[in-house]
């Protein structure tokens, strides 16, 4: 129940931040994608199917905010959630550098998949902003990971 509430709160808050804040806090022309960041952070704490489900929810929220390209958002975020969660069993170790690398590559992968599904965007703009956006998202993802992990930590029963 607690986990479900955290998941719901995380995706809703990320959606609200994405709609209200993302375009105000650009750095070097790149804006963060809170939903991608939260998807990566959350997926690292879930199993692949749950990660994929969270990605689907995040994609749905993102698509609802922007109002177009539902397919692109849903599929790219679902894959992102699934693959990121799979990293936990493949290569992921709780190491800041591994986490950072995963978060960096996650953004590139997600935006690449989205572009393949909906290539109507400007590829030059995407390529020029992607590195900075990846760094931005990675930093947010690391912060989110720490926060969500702390929130999800179940209280240990006190010793008698």
């Amino acid at each position: 129940m607690r986990k479900a509430a955290i998941v719901f709160f995380a995706v809703t808050l990320a959606g609200a931040l994405q709609s209200q804040m993302a375009d105000r806090i650009g750095v070097f022309g790149a804006n963060p994608d809170f939903l991608i960041a939260v998807t990566m952070a959350m997926a690292l704490l879930l199993d692949p199917v749950m990660g994929g489900l969270f990605g689907l929810a995040a994609g749905l929220v993102h698509a609802s905010i922007v109002g177009f390209s539902f397919g692109g958002f849903l599929i790219s975020r679902t894959l992102l959630g699934y693959i990121t969660a799979s990293l936990r069993s493949w290569v992921f170790q709780e190491n800041p550098f591994v986490l950072l690398a995963a978060a960096l590559l996650g953004t590139i992968f997600c935006e690449g998949v989205y572009f393949l599904i909906d290539p109507s965007g400007n590829p030059v703009s995407l390529i020029s902003q992607l590195p900075m956006q990846s760094v931005y998202n990675a930093l947010i993802a690391m912060a989110c990971y720490a926060l969500i992990k702390r929130a999800m930590r179940e209280e240990r029963p006190q010793a008698a």
């Binding site: 609200a16 209200q20 804040m21 105000r24 692949p48 199917v49 929220v61 609802s64 390209s69």
Partner: protein, 273 residues
């Protein structure tokens, strides 16, 4: 949740299928210009969060704006302070140049009016010794300055050269205790001797007890002794000092303001052919 690899892949395919289905439904709704129910529902859920974040962001933006405004004002303040400092320095330099210009103009007029040859000099040091009232000028024997040459300004008598170097000379001021100049009261032609006494004012003594002398009288050099030329202003009588004998003395305020002396002229003696 499925733990097997196949189960996970099936689940992924299902999720992707749901994604594609929702995408297709949305596209269909958009083509029919109908609202997409999932989109509406999600927007409704997000709405209060968005409002809350919007309020926080607006408040934050206000604070940021006010901080930026304050920073801008502080930056402007610093810039203006620097500007005021620069202009003050510039103003002081201009005042200085104006004052120097006036002094030099007066000196030039004086030099042109003076019958003998005058060598202009700049005071480069003063008060180097507390035992001697003297100044250093930037002229020496290379410029033709000699020992005991008289130094004057347009205002009056300064003193006498007592030490000559190649390019600088020391001038003993009238206020020095060892200075003395034969003087006379310009109005009544009463003679006396003006001496320094290490105070700002001079004393004129050896004045006949019954001589006609009063405060405000102008004192000029008498030319006696052949050192100082006749008629150079020395000062003005400030007060008569009482004396019990046959002579009396007077306190003289020098014509030259020794504390503000910056330029002077050395009277270069005419060379004998």
């Amino acid at each position: 949740m499925p733990q097997s690899r196949t189960g996970r892949i099936v689940a992924l395919v299902l999720l992707l299928a749901v994604g594609m289905l929702l995408g297709a439904l949305h596209k269909r709704a958009a083509e029919r210009r109908q609202p997409f129910f999932i989109e509406q529902a999600i927007r409704s859920v997000l709405s209060p969060f968005q409002s809350a974040i919007h309020s926080v962001a607006r408040a934050g933006s206000g604070v940021t704006k006010s901080l930026r405004g304050r920073k801008r004002v502080m930056r402007e303040n610093r810039r203006l302070r620097r500007e005021v400092l620069r202009l003050s320095k510039e103003n002081a330099a201009l005042r200085e140049e104006r004052a120097e210009n006036l002094r030099l103009r007066a000196s030039l007029d004086f030099k042109q009016d003076y019958p003998t040859e005058l060598l202009s000099a700049r005071v480069i040091s003063r008060g180097a010794s507390r035992w001697r009232h003297a100044v250093t000028i930037d002229r020496g024997w290379r410029d033709g300055v000699g020992h005991a040459d008289v130094v004057v300004t347009p205002r009056g008598l300064v003193g006498q050269v007592f030490d000559v170097g190649p390019s600088v000379s020391q001038v003993l001021l009238l206020t020095d205790q060892s200075s003395g100049v034969g003087a006379l009261i310009q109005r009544s032609r009463v003679f006396g001797v003006c001496r320094g006494r290490h105070t700002p004012n001079l004393v004129m003594d050896y004045i006949d007890k019954d001589a006609d002398i009063k405060a405000g009288d102008i004192v000029v050099s008498s030319g006696d002794g052949g050192v100082y030329p006749k008629g150079i202003p020395v000062g003005r009588v400030v007060r008569i000092e009482p004396s019990g004998g046959l002579l009396k003395a007077a306190e003289i305020r020098p014509s030259v303001r020794f504390g503000q002396l910056e330029e002077a002229f050395v009277i270069v003696p005419e060379k004998a052919d």
